[in-house]
């Protein structure tokens, strides 16, 4: 399924860097925990979308990205 493939991709380096920064650079176990939770979230979401037959929509993705706060 496309959604699962997409959601299983590695997170971009800037995302990894931000997660590390927010958890605290010295707190390796904390950012590893966040990374694990993100993986879990990705898997859970892929399963949810698959069960409801929701396909990734470039139109919806573009709409969400456009509405996402600029500060991110």
């Amino acid at each position: 399924m496309a959604a699962k493939e997409k959601l299983s991709i590695s997170f971009a380096p800037d995302v990894v860097a931000r997660v590390r920064h927010e958890a605290g650079e010295g707190h390796v176990s904390e950012w590893l925990e966040v990374a694990a939770l993100l993986r879990l979230q990705a898997t859970s979401l892929a399963r949810l979308m698959e069960s409801h037959g929701v396909k990734l929509s470039q139109k919806l993705l573009a709409e969400v990205e456009a509405e996402w706060p600029q500060s991110d």
């Binding site: 966040v34 939770l37 993705l61």
Partner: protein, 142 residues
């Protein structure tokens, strides 16, 4: 203070559990951005009813960590927000905003953006972002 989250209100949680495409895409983009979902515990109380629909709601919660506890500090903030809003029926919405205040930079996803924006406007310095989606199981107002 904790890391930013995509915080769901009752309507957004119900929409995600029902497989609403817009809710799914918001959660998808959050995930790709490395942002965890956050569901204030009172939102669960508002959304679950002990019926058959609870399983769908549960499927939208990726981990125990996604459920954000209500501390005394959050409860006090929510009480103040509710009182200032003069909306006695906005307790859970006020708890959503008060929880977001504990996670700076968070985005609140809701099916009731008008109400949530009114509450968020009471703490303008926090600049809480609110995003609205339509649909989902109608949340009960308490």
């Amino acid at each position: 203070m904790a890391a930013k989250r995509l915080i769901l209100d009752g309507g957004a949680l119900a929409a995600l559990g029902a497989g609403d495409p817009r809710a799914c895409h918001w959660a998808y983009v959050a995930t790709l951005r490395g942002i965890l979902l956050g569901i204030p515990a009172p939102v669960l109380a508002e959304t679950l009813d002990g019926g058959a629909g609870d399983a769908a709601i549960g499927a939208a919660i990726p981990s125990h960590d996604a459920v954000l506890p209500t501390t005394r500090e959050i409860a006090e903030e929510a009480g103040a927000l509710r009182a200032r809003s003069k909306r006695d029926d906005a307790t859970v919405d006020a708890l959503v905003i008060a929880t977001a205040l504990q996670h700076p930079g968070s985005l609140v996803l809701t099916t009731d953006p008008k109400e949530l924006r009114l509450l968020a406007a009471l703490r303008p310095e926090a600049a809480i972002a609110i995003a609205g989606i339509e649909g989902g199981r109608k949340k009960q107002r308490r």
